[in-house]
């Protein structure tokens, strides 16, 4: 290879890093090859809750100067159970599954879990990048399709990027549109209607519903000095349509005893949740990448706010510790804190006026998620890399409502621990 070609490739690498699209290929990769990343992730929560196996494969190929295509396939297979929104109680509790035909009973003191929503998801995405106007700007067009038994998601996106200042600065503007539809087992539950005793019918509002999500993002990536790069993004997102979780309920308790009230006829003491049909979100994201003598620090901060009252802060930190010969260790720390949605409740009191919206879904509550992880990677042969990564994710919930009566005896906001282990293999195919 001539020395001129090497210099040109190094400059191409330099600009590609700034423009930040996908993994930068090694300088001596085979021409016309697919740059393939593959991985398999194993995910497991405590106490018989959700487990998942997720294989993924993604390939990028350069078609011409500055023109790239990426294809990605993800499979996501879930088993286990997830909280149904009702809380533990000193009395035994009986629920009806979403089809309305079968009952399941939870022992006193146990957190009510339901395994109905879990199955396999397949997601396919593709993107195409090409220069536009001149060598200083480009556009990336993307599409995605995701399918599981009760949910379909279809989306498109466009991202325009332009370099300035000797390629030290890149501005970007991106637009994304998604259309999701849900066809839950048993149909769409009537918001705030009661869950009914198994076999006595169901309170339903049709078989399916949908929502649309519009995302807009402005970004700037800036070289700060020879060792430091920063990125700032401002995101605006608007969702309109059905956002309830059709499988989640809220316990109706007696205002004195704190126990779920007795069934009234066929109506069990649980109401289907009700969320607003619009949601407007904003995010501020800041990332810094800094090269030390050998190692690299990668740290980011994200602030999220929306009109549901959910404010959150995320700090994500990776430290790449070079071991030599292309091997590295990468510790990872992540800290996330979330304020509860305005309409988040632990339970509803029988006889009290119903709020306009309510949900007991723990994911809308007040909590802190802490993650600690470690990754090890090593080169295999000339152009391949093997990696293994393990993480522990710990979610600690805070109480939002004051416990009443029997509620004091139970953990109304149980913590969740999750463990992941992932094996990855990157290689070149063809060419």
């Amino acid at each position: 290879m001539s020395s001129n070609k090497r210099i040109r490739e190094k400059l191409t690498l330099a600009s590609a890093t700034l423009l930040q699209l996908s993994n930068v290929a090694a300088a001596d990769k085979p021409d016309d090859a697919w740059d393939v990343s593959s991985a398999i992730l194993f995910y497991s929560e405590n106490d018989g809750r959700v487990s998942a196996i997720e294989p993924v494969i993604s390939g990028t190929r350069e078609l011409a100067e500055g023109e790239k295509v990426n294809l990605k396939l993800v499979l996501d297979s879930l088993t286990g159970a997830t909280p149904n929104g009702a809380h533990a109680s000193s009395s035994s509790q009986t629920f009806t599954n979403p089809s309305g035909k079968q009952a399941y009973t939870i022992a006193p003191g146990e957190l009510p879990l339901d395994d109905t929503f879990l199955d396999t998801r397949v997601a396919f995405s593709g993107s195409y990048e090409m220069p536009v106007i001149d060598n200083y700007s480009r556009i990336i067009l993307g599409g995605n399709l995701s399918k599981e038994f009760d949910y379909t998601s279809l989306g498109v996106s466009a991202n325009f990027l332009r370099d300035y200042n000797n390629r030290n600065t890149t501005f970007s503007a991106a637009l994304g549109l998604n259309a999701d539809s849900i066809e839950p087992s048993g149909g769409i539950p009537t918001p705030f209607a009661n869950m009914k005793v198994a076999g006595t019918g169901t309170n339903r509002d049709g078989a399916d519903d949908s929502k649309t999500i519009t995302d807009f993002m402005l970004g700037v990536t800036q070289v700060i000095n020879r060792r430091t790069l920063m990125q700032f993004n401002l995101g605006f997102s608007s969702t309109s349509g059905y956002m309830n979780d059709p499988y989640k309920i809220i316990s109706v308790i007696d205002g004195t005893t704190g126990l779920p009230i007795a069934a009234v006829g066929d109506d069990l003491p649980y109401l289907y949740e009700n969320r607003p049909d619009s949601r407007s979100r904003q995010t501020f994201f800041w990332k810094t990448v800094h090269h030390l003598t050998e190692d690299v620090i990668n740290v980011s901060y994200r602030y999220h706010t929306d009109d549901w009252g959910i404010d959150s802060h995320t700090i994500d930190f990776h430290y790449r510790y070079e071991l030599g010969n292309g091997r590295y260790l990468q510790p990872h720390l992540r800290y996330y804190s979330q304020a509860a949605a305005d309409f988040f409740v632990t339970s509803l009191v029988d006889g009290a006026p119903l709020p306009q919206y309510a949900s007991a879904d723990y994911r809308l509550g007040e909590f802190v998620t802490s993650t600690i992880g470690l990754k090890y990677a090593m080169p295999v042969g000339k152009n391949s890399e093997f990696s293994v990564r393990a993480e522990v994710i710990s979610q600690v919930q805070s109480e939002v409502d004051t416990p009443i009566g029997d509620q004091v005896n139970h953990d109304l906001t149980p913590d969740t621990d999750a463990y992941i282990i992932q094996f990855g293999y990157n290689f070149y195919f063809g060419g």
Binding site: K10, A14, T17, Q20, N23, V24, S37, S58, K72, V74, L78, R121, A123, S125, G142, N144, L145, S146, E148, Y151, G155, N165, N166, N168, A174, G176, D215, M217, V220, V223, I224, N225, R226, L229, M230, F232, G235, S237, R281, T283, F284, F285, V289, H291, V296, H304, T305, S312, R320, E322, Y336, Q338, R363, L364, T369, K375, R389, A418, Q422, G424
Partner: protein, 68 residues
């Protein structure tokens, strides 16, 4: 809070030096990419999307699922 955060990039951007193309040796390294593993990033984003009520910040698109 949101408007206050916008001040940070403006302050930092004024402290930059212009780096010439031949000085971009370190910046060109794969370890200096903003996202060094797209797959790790996408898998993590999906996990946290299923467990938390916030999403996004890094880009648009990506698709949804029934997991949230």
């Amino acid at each position: 809070m949101f408007k206050l955060l916008l001040v940070i990039p403006l302050m930092l951007l004024s402290a930059c030096t212009t780096v010439q193309p031949w000085e971009k040796d370190l910046l060109a390294k794969p370890s200096m990419a903003l996202v060094t593993s797209e797959i790790d990033n996408a898998l993590d984003e999906h996990i946290y999307f299923s467990k938390e009520a916030s999403m996004g910040g890094q880009g648009v698109g990506g698709g949804g699922c029934g997991c949230n």
